[in-house]
Symmetry: C2
Subunit: 145 residues, 2 copies
């Protein structure tokens, strides 16, 4: 069962240690009594989403023998007005760099992740409308340019 | 607008840098092709939830002049069977240690956070049934024991 233990350190700084044994620091910004020593809790939802779908997509692209040399996911969230400000929209931009990457393979991998595999996306998708786009950068062209 | 940039490092290891400028490492476990060098993405949802509600609760307890000496939140998630395995239940256990802490103040602070303030809870609450409990540890008694 996934779990996390979150402990107050000082001010608004908390350290979370997840069941797998890895620690992260969270903090509020100065306006909210914090010291900005770590990420905001709401940011972790977007980071987790990027990691979750990123793992799916890179696994699928490797199985399809796509030669990916670098891979980034930009995640943006839009929150409801007022309190609580839950996510109402989340947009993902996947940037895949490599040699002769197939756009169909990338689109298919993203769809499989968002529709079928990514548990973070399925969780957040109950609150937020999820949208995505992708870009492919040819590493040969880049090296040549 | 909250955001995060997630970059593949190697294998299944990704680094996420949130808009506030803080980096975290994510990785899959060995069974899923990773090296367990960082937390699982699904764990970040629980960690973020603990941090979010923790910041609310400690702020409220401080305003109510409660003398909290330490504060922990244990978060557990239950996932759906199969794929995608979204969270269907999340349980929070708040442990507040201090001197003459009022149980009513703690219960009220938690309710305010979960019902009104915590944006992570409001987001995850669209997917998962949220439950909670709390324990108060008297720091005087502890020191005396």
């Amino acid at each position: 069962m996934p779990s996390s233990k979150v402990t107050l350190v000082d001010g608004m700084q908390f350290v979370g240690v997840s069941g797998s044994g890895h620690a992260v620091v969270m903090d509020a910004d100065q306006k909210n009594g914090g010291a900005n020593s770590g990420a905001r809790p709401m940011e972790f939802l977007l980071t987790g989403f990027g990691g979750c779908t990123g793992m799916d997509v890179i696994s699928i692209l490797r199985k399809k023998r796509q030669k990916v040399t670098s891979f980034e996911i930009f995640v943006e969230g839009e929150k409801a007005e007022g309190h609580p400000a839950r996510y109402t929209k989340i947009h993902l931009e996947y940037v895949v760099t490599g040699k002769n990457i197939s756009p169909e393979a990338v689109e298919r991998a993203i769809k499989l992740s968002l529709d079928k595999y990514c548990s973070v996306g399925a969780t957040l998708g109950k609150s937020a409308e999820i949208s995505h786009e992708f870009r492919i950068i040819d590493s040969e062209a880049e090296a040549g340019g």
